[in-house]
């Protein structure tokens, strides 16, 4: 270990990203929102629901509030964006959690003030990359995947009725794919005043790809197919388009949003 003063503990890794959203083929407006903030290395996908204008409003408020809250936290006295050698000591997960909670409150308040927005809510999947660590905060059935070589792994656990049914042994994962309750989520941001947020964190490896998406992608493609499309894409910038196109080819049942983030050595 070098003890040279001022030397950064972790090497600065380059993070590149690309994102795309699409209305799909069955819906007439897009209620998904996404955020790419390369300065904070913050990435968010939100899939809104409820009412005529409600869904789109909820997801937009979510991504804006989360960005605003994290920027405020960074500029505040207790900046959570500090390097921590151990995952469990990092401050970012709690900062992310409280940003999502604030977004929940903001959406709920907005819905209380405008009856047309009543009952709106949104899913949130968010990612912050800091040094070689990646942190997620998650509510609902939008997903985060880690793609590392031969492996594709869903990092977030869906807060959906079918997932609860699978865990209770009521249905098999195969049955879940065709369940009519596939779109029912068990938690959402802004539908109630408070929400329980799941946070996760992983150590990144060079060339890891993190993929955030709404269920408009995950319900149309198998994990394996997502993996193949990502690996076949000539560049990172191409990936979201290829994934969205394939989801549309399969029917495009819902709005489709994809962000890919790659950590480069």
């Amino acid at each position: 270990m070098s003890k040279t003063a001022g030397q950064s503990a972790a090497p600065r890794l380059k993070v590149v990203s690309a994102g795309l959203t699409d209305v799909g083929r069955k819906r007439n407006h897009n209620e998904d929102s996404f955020l790419i903030d390369d300065e904070l290395q913050l990435y968010v996908v939100a899939d809104g629901m409820g009412g005529h204008a409600g869904g789109g409003t909820a997801s937009r408020i979510a991504v804006e509030t989360i960005d605003k809250e994290l920027r405020r936290a960074r500029d505040g006295r207790d900046n959570p964006f500090v390097s921590m050698p151990n995952l469990q000591d990092a401050l970012i997960p709690e900062a992310l959690r409280s940003a999502v909670e604030r977004a929940c409150m903001a959406i709920y308040t907005a819905a209380q003030e405008d009856p047309r927005l009543s009952g709106m809510g949104t899913t949130v999947i968010s990612l912050v990359v800091k040094d070689d660590q990646a942190f997620f905060a998650h509510v609902g059935d939008s997903r985060a995947y880690l793609i590392r070589g031969e492996l594709i792994q869903q990092i977030s656990e869906d807060h959906s009725l079918v997932n609860e049914q699978i865990k209770a042994g009521m249905i098999t994962p195969e049955e879940a794919k065709h369940s009519r309750y596939k779109n029912i989520i068990t938690r959402s941001v802004g539908f109630e005043e408070e929400v329980q947020v799941d946070v996760m964190g992983v150590i990144t490896e060079p060339d890891d790809i993190f993929l955030l998406c709404s269920d408009g992608l995950a319900n149309m493609l198998e994990d394996r197919e997502i993996h193949e499309l990502v690996r076949a894409a000539p560049s990172l910038q191409e990936m979201p388009k290829r994934l969205v196109d394939m989801a549309n080819e399969r029917g495009g049942d819902d709005n489709i949003t994809v962000i890919v983030v790659q950590v480069q050595a």
């Binding site: 990092a90 492996l151 792994q153």
Partner: protein
């Protein structure tokens, strides 16, 4: 002739008068018969005495023999007991193997329990040689027990042959089964319903909590691929391993993780260290086994004692 009389004269040498005794013949006959009877009686008694004396000697030998036999019976009983416990162990192992294969056989549920009472509850043989055998331990009862044991052994043999045939086809399934304890320690909270240590609510505990010192090794209980190694909310540092066949294991509250997502691990490989990260009241390993997404009791798969 009937009343012949004999006279017995006693003549003294001196001047004393001669004494005469008149004895009737019938009296003499009676006397003779009486003497003969007495002599016969005495002979009979003597013969009887010798018989009894012989019996007594024989009895001593029999007692000794009886003692030896009793000892042998006891050791036979002990051996049967031993076989019984061995069979019980085989049965438990068999059940575990079946759990491992996820083979369900409703007939197995009819399997009889222990073939006898616990060893401690059998009346200990007292030292006196005259103690009667306990009714249930009579040799006839032993025969019944032997019959049952032999039936049980036959059934076990069939069952194990069935399993062996199964495993010959499914070697990789066996390698996937989380059959080892992932860490050595005390199980402080079992699978199933429990009170939440934080909120005291009744909740289902989806795994085992194994209390062990901070830094104690955590081993992979079978071959697999690491799906996740990172922070996961209340479980702190978590590793998830996919063993194939729909079997996944999860390890929570780790202090250190020695593998990363994508790594292949072998059974027995060190993967992490026990810790207290996340929502935890002390250093312990939270260990879960999920089959097709459904949490199962990890003990069902552990073949180690």
């Amino acid at each position: 002739m009937a009343n012949k009389t004999y006279t017995l004269m006693v003549v003294s040498d001196h001047n004393a008068p001669v004494k005469r005794y008149h004895i009737q013949k019938s009296f003499l006959v009676q006397l003779g018969v009486g003497v003969a009877l007495l002599a016969g009686l005495a002979l009979g008694a003597t013969i009887h005495y010798f018989h009894v004396a012989q019996d007594a000697a024989e009895n001593r030998i029999l007692r000794e023999e009886n003692l030896t036999l009793r000892g042998q019976l006891k050791s036979v009983r002990e051996r049967i007991e031993h076989i019984g416990t061995t069979l019980d162990r085989v049965e438990r192992f068999d059940q575990k193997l079946r759990a491992v294969t996820l083979l369900s056989d409703p007939q197995r549920n009819l399997a009889m329990g222990p073939t006898e009472t616990e060893p401690g509850t059998t009346a200990p043989a007292t030292d006196t040689q005259f103690t009667q055998l306990h009714a249930s331990e009579a040799p006839t009862a032993l025969m019944g027990r032997l019959d049952r044991l032999s039936a049980e052994a036959t059934r076990q043999e069939q069952s194990l042959q069935e399993l062996q045939a199964y495993f010959q086809d499914q070697k990789s399934l066996l390698a996937s089964t989380p059959s080892l304890w992932p860490a050595r320690g005390w199980v402080t909270s079992d699978f199933g319903q429990r009170l939440d240590p934080y909120t005291a609510d009744r909740v289902t505990h989806a795994g085992l909590d194994i209390a062990a010192p901070h830094g104690k090794e955590v081993y992979a209980p079978s071959d697999g691929t690491v799906l996740f190694a990172g922070l996961e909310g209340g479980y702190g540092n978590v590793i998830v391993i996919d063993h194939g066949y729909g079997i996944k294991t999860r390890y929570g509250h780790l202090s250190k993780m020695l593998v990363k997502a994508g790594d292949k691990v072998k059974r027995g490989a060190r993967i992490a260290a026990v810790g207290n990260t996340g929502r935890s009241t002390g250093p312990h390993l939270h260990y879960e086994v999920r089959v097709n997404g459904i949490p199962q009791n990890p003990r069902k798969f552990i073949l180690e004692e």
